[in-house]
Symmetry: D2
Subunit: 97 residues, 4 copies
Amino acid sequence: MSYLIDIAITPVGTGSTSVSSYVKVVLEVLRRRNLKYFVAPSMTTFEIDDLNSLGEIVKEIHDELVLKGAMRIVTLIKIDDRRDKENSIDHKLNAIK
Amino acid sequence: MSYLIDIAITPVGTGSTSVSSYVKVVLEVLRRRNLKYFVAPSMTTFEIDDLNSLGEIVKEIHDELVLKGAMRIVTLIKIDDRRDKENSIDHKLNAIK
Amino acid sequence: MSYLIDIAITPVGTGSTSVSSYVKVVLEVLRRRNLKYFVAPSMTTFEIDDLNSLGEIVKEIHDELVLKGAMRIVTLIKIDDRRDKENSIDHKLNAIK
Amino acid sequence: MSYLIDIAITPVGTGSTSVSSYVKVVLEVLRRRNLKYFVAPSMTTFEIDDLNSLGEIVKEIHDELVLKGAMRIVTLIKIDDRRDKENSIDHKLNAIK
């Protein structure tokens, strides 16, 4: 069973309107954890098998954002938890074609 | 100047766990309005030049979802309003490459 | 018929981690428009009768945030559009008591 | 250090437009875990000291929603992670008064 997670991070108080270097941190953490992900302009979708791991993933991302200089981070997460059927990035993209 | 809008609709009380036919309505409305959009697994990003038009776009989408049988709709929207630089789907995707 | 709107604004690149002065702008605009609202720690809920007006409300808020110095604003909105029954702040708070 | 979490659950495919009985599950889980929370019309804010625990809390909530009959759940979470100052429900409410 897979959970689909959308994540969008917003660093606050950095003094710059650019956020792309922070978004790259999200992608690096997902790659390092071998999670399948999909990059959209304003957020990233990834798959996890264990919903318990969500906090650790977000914590790892935030800790790295703090190292990059963000002292406050507002993160939006949307979870799609479907128990009756397969749920995956590919499945959802195919369904709306 | 462009505003980037993420939208994710969730019909409530339909009796079915499938939402793809409802998501297609979102894409149809965006196409009909000639708005540039990007499809992600769990939401859609589109560009608008006039933030005032956001309500009308959402209203058109919701009214069609109601015609399809949704009696309650929970919609998530994220707006990225950047006043100092160009903001577009292509620009954002390039920045995180 | 009322639509319930949750709104949370995040100014980006201000150089300060404090956002409360920006949040106050949201409340001022809602008061000026005589919209019923409910203040929560991290977002504000308000009622509108006309979904078409949503874009104008958000535009007014963002324009004032720009005057206060925000050059980029990321805004999260959640819309609860219920067509079968009354929908209001009071009704929803009572239902979960 | 506290993290402020906003959570809004939406059960999908239940056949009913009412969600209040599902929202009560969220509040029960937060109470059982002795987490401080604040109830708003369309979402709930709670405080956690350990961001790692976020996944377990959401998992516990979703598992109970499934027991109540929800076969698909779309959950929205907003995290406010502030590293430079105290962050709490009371602090944020006071700041915007």
